[in-house]
Symmetry: C2
Subunit: 305 residues, 2 copies
């Protein structure tokens, strides 16, 4: 009997396995430490985050544009690959959300069954590190909802190091201050949306930096602070407009809750807690700030069950 | 009599004035729309943010390493350039903090009086766009405190556009949804600190994602969320270590308050509101999480008056 090799979850590049390396099958990927599973698309857990995904044509909602991938989460399919249930924010799906929240890099592996021009014709290929920049539930035409993740490639000119090695994680008590040493820096390229400063200024001015959800202002020595959140996300695939009608003035805590779907809005701008599905308040409004109900509905379609 | 030309504050590159362009004097800079003032180092206001700075040897606490600049705020000097008072978080100084909070790009202009090897020998030179990544008060040996800003250069291979034009800002009502159009993207290079994932994991696990300041947990559909803040900043010039003893588990709102100096800690881990200088609570602790008092003292030295 062969003892199974334990998978050590590592974030970032695996030494000896640079971008472009090919593998015959999923078992080879697992033994190389690139991906934990032989079946699941996502290698990860809710607590640790996801370290890798396989893109292999399993989900028709995937969209592979090379450096930008709209990746569908796992679950809800029968053995023939038909969607028969909703996907849930658990297991590997919650792992990818954790990676988004922590900024952890995710290895992307493409397989021969993937339809895109970026896929290999045989076997599997490690195609570099990506970051999860957004996630949402997509309501499908068949009535089921699937999770989707927008993933953006991290520049190939850098190698992201020290995103946490397994031996560190297992022995936190063994670390001393001297061992931790200086903190290294990596230059990385990011895609940045060129948001309009006038929208940010108007929204903050109208609401006087008061959060439209909890009415808090974060008071700082240099003046009050708030964040301007978009209701319908900017960029692919949501393509919400960068205008006041699609923006809210929020504190950082409620910005996080809104973007991650803990809260959504009704048509009459009541605030709903997504877990309990209870109305927990009403959005603060300002006469000059008209809110586009179409954006509220789009955001709600991602998160309301 | 000559009518003075109004300065139109623009963030980002000024068309026709690429990086490396030289100017004979401050008036030329002002007329070109690069910097609002003929004397002040900082071109900006607390409400709009700062669009430009001049580095010209006026403050001995400046440190110019080319792509990284430790820039000293304005004020507190007599006419002979001696520090005779504390600097305050007002005026241009508050403008730079606003630029940090909003991620606005700041034009850096070096003058002939600057001592560094990066300065021109005559006149002034526009040296590209930088971002403000951190600020703090530095207690000087003479007892006065000055503001300092860590500024990092934005990659020269890109031009940051559309950070808000003055004509837009002045006529918000004139904007329509169709005018706003698609949102463009810019690839930019950033310096990223390679933080240890094990520190983040341990701190979050010990505190169960509960904020050590306000005891809030941000509950998200994928699980609870929190942020790990460093007490003594990482990187130059603070060089705090990336270890559990120098870290706190905070909600995003209190992370912002802590980093911007609205809150600091006493040696016995009571929480002080920096504006009122009143104790407003006690830091939540965990038996496994020992906090290094030297880091608490360093953070406090930036913010306590």
């Amino acid at each position: 009997m062969i003892t199974p090799v334990a998978y050590i979850r590592t974030f970032g590049e695996i030494p000896g396995h640079p971008e472009g390396t090919s593998y015959a099958d999923r078992e080879e990927l697992r033994l190389a430490g690139l991906h934990a599973h032989k079946q699941n698309g996502i290698s990860g857990t809710p607590a640790e985050g996801a370290d890798a995904i396989v893109l292999n044509g399993g989900y028709p909602d995937d969209q592979d544009d090379g450096d930008i991938i709209i990746y569908t989460g796992q679950g809800g399919q029968d053995s023939r690959g038909r969607q028969i249930a909703d996907q849930e924010l658990t297991s590997g799906n919650a792992g990818l959300v954790r990676s988004q929240a922590e900024g952890l890099p995710v290895r992307v592996i493409r397989g021969y069954e993937e339809k895109s021009v970026y896929a290999p014709t045989t076997g599997y290929r490690y195609d570099g590190l990506y970051r999860v920049v957004r996630h949402w539930f997509k309501p499908r035409d068949d009535g089921f909802r699937v999770l989707q993740f927008r993933m953006e490639k991290i520049s190939t000119s850098e190698i992201v190091r020290d995103f946490g090695q397994a031996d560190e994680a297992d022995q936190p008590e063994a670390q001393s201050l001297t061992q931790s040493g200086p903190v290294s820096r990596t230059e990385r390229a990011i895609q940045q949306l060129n948001r309009r400063a006038s929208v940010v200024r108007n929204i903050k001015k109208w609401h006087d930096n008061v959060c439209q959800i909890c009415r808090t202002t974060v008071e700082l020595p240099g003046g009050p602070a708030s964040e301007v959140a978009h209701i319908q996300g900017l960029g692919e695939p949501h393509n919400g407009p960068d205008c006041e009608e699609n923006a809210l003035c929020l504190c950082p805590n409620d910005h996080l809750r809104f973007d991650y779907g803990a809260l959504y809005l009704t048509d009459d701008l009541r605030i709903v807690d997504a877990t309990s599905q209870q109305i927990i308040g009403k959005l603060a409004t300002h006469p000059k700030h008209s809110i586009g109900i179409q954006y509220v509905r789009q955001h709600r379609s991602y998160w309301a069950k």
